[in-house]
Symmetry: C2
């Protein structure tokens, strides 16, 4: 069977519709013509199921592959992923993302496609905006969104991307009758009173004991407790920091991520979680669904990193974050604020 | 016992030398005076072993702690670490880094200190240059260099920092009689010939098979094989890329880290390692000491990231990298080039 290379397509005749489309769902029949993408054609050439000509001349695999890579950006990446999916037994068609993949046992004409696959090189940073565009395209037609990242050595890692509506089970009990007086020192806040320290630590798992009397609060915890009227904060000169806006300003000068982290913190608390720092995992928070006693902490299920709208994922960094989360049996979520609402984006490795 | 707060010291008398220094090695005796640092004094105040006065007025813990944090930068951080070390049973003295720590069972006057401890906040990026200054200070007096990082919630993670002279066991056999012709496509290089592909892959674990005939080489692998006369690289228009310098220029335009990665790659190969991409771990390389057959890869012991001289460690990122390496039983090393020599810096978590 012969296909002709025409711009970014390879076109073949009626026989190809019978032998390639009807048996393997390669290409798209348009009348009597079967139209193949460059990756499909390269794969069929590799499988010796198709010969390809350009200007009446036969192209070998090397010639066609080189030619195709000049005609289509990221051709090699897409070929690597297409071949991998085909060899895993999936039927694959082109789509608005890169590929539309049919469920095992399904195929065009019989079933709906199940996944949209979006191919990226590890080397090219990925804008959150672009990821969400692809995600929404998949969501609109109720497909799973799969991100396929090809590394320098052409290994592929597959991730499923989805929004998650998470809920914790911690009931808020804010136990103080009147605000406790605490001091902001350099970059943390100290609670001096033993009884207050105990109450905050035991009810809601705020802070960390400095010793058996005093408690240290992180900046987000302090802001949250201040905003809820649980504490009053003074600085080391004994002057009051009366408002959350003033405190936030100071906190943001210490921690450039403060504002974003604080929005996520407030949202997580309102969803019934207990957020604590995720420093050891390189993320903003680890969160607990519930903490009944600080003597025996439960497993925390999520690691959460608050990112801005214009976030650019460096893919090796993302890969590491997700892998580390998985290695400690946690899910890695990215928190993004849209129109004053926080959304949680779950990017999780999957086996295809 | 009473100590007087004078600038950044607390001074006490002869009795304190007997009761605090001779029994617990707090402070430094200077004639009849015992001179305590602010953290030592705060700890003794907390332990009710000392009262502290300023202008004849007694200071409570809250007052002294607040005052000390105004007089010394990062006082709280240092206090947190000092207290932790003391409570773990170590004798601690001030040093050119932050603390000098005596081995278990040892103390000033009896034994040499064993470690230098350098305290950092997770929030403040750490220059490689500063880390090495501290490391060299410790090395010069043959101490272990310990980095104590205090996170937002005042949790401490301890790391040992050292230089490592690593050696692999892979013998180089470069098997081709004449250079093989390969093609550079967009951002990777393809070997078309089946026999060459097999030889490169099986002898030295270069590249990754695209299929049973063709091999894909990464940019660093291609540069290395080109420089050793094993391959000849042409671009997709069939033009030769004759020299390593030209190829490196193209590669650096694709991957900004290329030059640094390539120096480390060459050094690792010359030390008998097989370096492969560490993308899945978020680092430049994972390295194998030896690869005899690609059918069954051995465990790789190191993850290696090539960093520049002026590298600034973001500590949450560093924490994540080391933690991930440990979770897959690998050591995280940073490769830095000094005077055309690559050095490997091992930053590993330790239990104190």
């Amino acid at each position: 069977m012969i296909g002709k290379l025409v711009k970014e397509k390879v076109k073949s005749g009626k026989k190809a519709i019978n032998e390639l489309y009807n048996t393997g769902y390669y290409g798209r029949p348009k009348g009597d013509v079967l139209e193949l993408t460059l990756v499909e054609a390269a794969y069929l050439l590799y499988k010796n199921k198709l010969e390809i000509t350009l200007d009446e001349k036969n192209l070998g695999f090397e010639e066609f592959f080189t030619e195709a890579s000049k005609r289509q950006q990221f051709f090699e990446l897409k070929y690597i992923v297409y071949k991998d999916l085909r060899e895993r037994g999936y039927y694959v068609q082109p789509s608005v993302t890169d590929f539309r993949v049919y469920p095992r046992g399904g195929h065009p004409g019989k079933t709906q496609a199940k996944m949209f696959v979006y191919v990226r090189s590890e080397r090219v940073p990925m804008l959150l905006k672009d990821l969400l565009t692809q995600y929404n395209a998949a969501l609109n037609v109720r497909k799973q969104m799969i991100l396929a990242i090809v590394d320098e050595e052409s290994d592929i890692t597959y991730y499923e991307v989805k929004r998650l509506d998470i809920k914790g089970e911690m009931e808020q009990t804010l136990p103080l009758e009147q605000p406790a007086s605490v001091t902001m020192l350099e970059d943390r806040v100290l609670v001096w009173d033993g009884e207050t320290s105990r109450l905050l630590y035991e009810n809601g798992f705020y802070g960390k004991p400095l010793d058996n009397e005093r408690l240290q609060l992180s900046l987000v915890e302090s802001a949250y407790l201040l905003d809820n009227g649980i504490i009053e904060i003074k600085n080391s000169n004994g002057e009051n920091i009366p408002e959350i806006s003033k405190f936030s300003e100071i906190a943001a000068s210490i921690d450039p991520d403060f504002t974003r982290k604080y929005s996520a913190y407030v949202d997580l608390r309102s969803r019934g979680f207990v957020p604590k720092t995720g420093f050891k995992f390189g993320t903003h928070f680890r969160v607990y669904s519930e903490v009944h006693t600080t003597d025996k902490l439960p497993h925390s299920n999520y690691l959460i990193h608050a990112i801005p709208h214009d976030h650019e994922f460096l893919l090796p960094v993302m890969s590491r974050a997700i892998r580390l989360a998985n290695s400690v049996r946690k899910q890695m979520l990215y928190a993004v604020e849209f129109a004053e609402k926080i959304e949680y984006i779950d990017i999780g490795r999957i086996k295809m």
